[in-house]
Symmetry: C2
Subunit: 404 residues, 2 copies
Amino acid sequence: MSDISPIRATSGTNQEGTSAHNRRVMMDALRLNGALSRADLARATQLTKQAVSNIIDELERDGFVVSLDAVRKGRGQPSTPYRLVPEGAFAIGLQIDRHLTRAVAVDLVGTVLVRAEANLPPDDPHGGVRIILGVIEGIRRDLAAISAQSERRIVGLGVAMPGPFGLEEFGDNKWMMPAWQKYPLLETLAAGTGFDVSLQNDAAACAIAERMVGAAHGLDHAVCLYVGYGIGAGLILNGESYRGGNGNAGEIGMALLSPRGSDGAVLEHRASLASLYQHLELDPSEPGLYEHVEALALADDPALLAWVRDAAMDLRWSVQLIETLFDPQTVILTSGAPEALARLILEAMLPLPSSIADRPQRSLPRLQLGITDPWSIALGAAAEPIGRAFDPRFSAILKTRSGG
Amino acid sequence: MSDISPIRATSGTNQEGTSAHNRRVMMDALRLNGALSRADLARATQLTKQAVSNIIDELERDGFVVSLDAVRKGRGQPSTPYRLVPEGAFAIGLQIDRHLTRAVAVDLVGTVLVRAEANLPPDDPHGGVRIILGVIEGIRRDLAAISAQSERRIVGLGVAMPGPFGLEEFGDNKWMMPAWQKYPLLETLAAGTGFDVSLQNDAAACAIAERMVGAAHGLDHAVCLYVGYGIGAGLILNGESYRGGNGNAGEIGMALLSPRGSDGAVLEHRASLASLYQHLELDPSEPGLYEHVEALALADDPALLAWVRDAAMDLRWSVQLIETLFDPQTVILTSGAPEALARLILEAMLPLPSSIADRPQRSLPRLQLGITDPWSIALGAAAEPIGRAFDPRFSAILKTRSGG
DNA sequence: TTATTAAGTCAACTGACTTGACTTATTACT
DNA sequence: AGTAATAAGTCAAGTCAGTTGACTTAATAA
C-alpha cells in the first residue's frame, strides 16, 4: 500500500524533537559566542541550569564540546566554559563548474582541512562524475589521515553548481550547463559515496560560507551578490539559506535591466565574468585565466577598467534592487574573480544609489567585500551539511516519515 | 540587575513547546484539508493515534474544534471527522491609509464579521489615533453582539499601513506618511485597546490575506504584487510572511527602473495609483474617487487605458524581477483599485516576459488576480494575529523570556 | 572571619508522547 | 447468516526530557 496521503499537514513533534533542538541551540550558542559556561548557556537559551547540564554532558560524551579551564570572575564559584570541538564533525563540499571541480573537507567550525581539484570534460556529466567520485575518494583518504575518527563523523556532501535548475527550456543557452542539468547528479553521488547529498547554486553556497565564517556570521538577514561566470544572489533569510519554490531564488543574473529595453538584456550579459572575458576577448577555458585577469587588475589595465566601470553601473543597481526587495542587514560582494578585481569592482560601485537601506543608525556597511578565495564555493557547499546537521531550525524539530 | 545579556542564542524549548506546536499542527491540518478524523490527523502529522486523541480532546474542550457526524467508508469502524470552529478565535484588523481607516473583525477561518471605516485627518496621527480607537471600540461592540464569547477570544490587533518604516530621511516625500511614521503607533494602540498589536505594510497584509483565504491558500512560496497608492510586494516565504531585517522587505515600488537612468525613476512613479491620479489629473483625496475610476475603467476611457498600457510595461518587468529573485509558486496581483481596473492591468501585463518561472510542468499560473476588495488589506491585517496564534512556526516552539 | 554571590549538582516530579493490548463498528467473504 | 478482516479509537502503563527546589562548592567583599 502507498505511503502517499492526499492530506497535507506539517509534522508534529515529540521529546526527541525537543532534545534535538536544544542540542542544536547549545552548539549554535557556542559557535556564535566562542565559549560559554553552563550557567551562561542556561541564561541565553532560557533553559534551566539542570537541563543545560544534562545536554552539555551528553554533547561532551559525544565529542562535540570540551571544557576549558575554570575562570574566576568576581564573587561566586568559578565557571567552566565549554567550546566546540572542531573535530566533532566534518563535511565534504563540492563545486562543479564548467571546466573544473573543486572539493574540500571542512570541520565543525568551518576550517578547511583538505582540498583537491580536477578538470572536468565539458558537457560530459557521465565522465565528470567518475572524476568527481575519484576526487571525493581522495579527500576522504586525506581526511582520514588527519583525523582517525573522521570517517564516522562526516555528516554529508554538499554540492554547488551554477543554476538555475530544472529548466529544460534553456537547454542551449551558453550560460548554462545543460548536460549537467539533466543528469541525475544527486542520486549518482549519493550512491557512489553513501553520503547524504544536497545541491545548491554557487551563490547560495557563497552565502552559506559567509554566514559560517565570513561577513554574515551571526546575521539573520544577508544577501551575497556573487559575480562569477554568471551572477547570482545567495540569500540568508531568517538565518537560513532561502531557495524558493524550485531552488532558483536569487537568480538575479537573469533580471531584466529595464522595463522598456526591447533587447531583453539581463544583468548577467553585462556584469558577469563571462561578459568580462568576452570584452577582453579571452577564452574562458584557457588554463592561466585566473592569473592573467589578476595581472590585468593589478596593472590597472585600461580595457579591464572600462569593463569594471560599466559593470559596476549595473551592479550598483542590483544592490539597490536587493536592498529594496530583501531588506537585508548587509550585502556582501563575492566573486570567482581574483581579489584585486573584486576590489576594483567594489570601489567602482561606490557610492551606492540611495535606498531604504541607507538609514542613519546602521551598524553594518551596506556593501562589503566577502571571502575572495576561489575555494569559497566549495567551502559553502561543505558548510551546508554542517548547518543542516547542527543549526537550530524548524525542520529539525519535526518528526520525519519513518521508512521512506 | 539587567536582563540584557550580550550573549546571543536561540531559545531552547520544552514539552510546552512540543504541545503548542502539535496543537497548531492539528488546527493547520484542519484548515488546509477541511475536516479530518483523529486517524487521518495521526497519519498526516506522524503523531500516534493516542497523542492526536488527547490533543483533539483538549482542542474540543477549548472550543477550537467540533466533531461532525461519523462517516462510514469501507471496512472498519466509521471515523468521526473534526472541523475548526470559526468562533474559536477572533482578531481585529486595521488599515491605516492617507485619508481613511478601515477596520474589520474576522474569525478563526478568516470570515469578516464586522467592518467599519472612518476618515482620517491628514498628517495628524494624534487626532487620527483617537478616531481609530473609537472605530475599534465600535468593532468590539458589534462583535460582542454577534458572539457573546468574542471578547475573551480576540487574539490580537493587526495594523497595516503603507511602508517603508523607520526612514527619517524620506520625511518630506509625498509618497510617504511622515507624521505617522514617527508616531509611537503600536504602543498607543496597545495601551488604548489592551491587545497585542502587530504592524506590517499593506502589501504584506494583502499577502497574508491571500494565504488565509485567497489564491495563496496552502502555498508556501507566493508573492503578492500590490498596486495601491504606492506599490509593494507582500512576501510569503516558507509559509510565513517575510519582513526582512527592518520590516521593509518587498518595497518593490522603490526599485530603480534601470541601471542607467539618470533620473532615478522608480516603479512607483510610473505604475502606482498615485501616478494614475496624476495622469488623469485627479485629486487623491476626492471622495468619490474609487467610483469615478471604476466608471472610467468600465467605460474603457482612453486616458486611463493609455496609463494602463504604460504601467503594465513596468509591472510586467516587476513580475519578472519577483520571479527571478524569489522563485515563488505564483505571483498574485492585488490592488486598492476597483476590480475592473485591476483586470485591465492584468490583461495588459500579458504575455509576461520569459523567466525562470515559465517551466512546462507548472500547475499554477505565473500571474493571477487576487482579492480585489478594498477591505482586503484590513482582512490581511486581521489575519496576521490569527496566524501568529495558530499557525505552526518555529518561533511558536521557543521559550519566551518570562517577565519583560 | 563571615556574609554574599554565583556555578553547578542531586533527586524527586511533571507532563506529553509512545507502546501495545483491547474494544467497537463496519464491510467482505463464505 | 455467520465469520473473518479491517480500521477507528481507547486504556493504561511506560518513557524521557525538562522542571523544581534544596543543596554543595568555591570564590570575593565586607
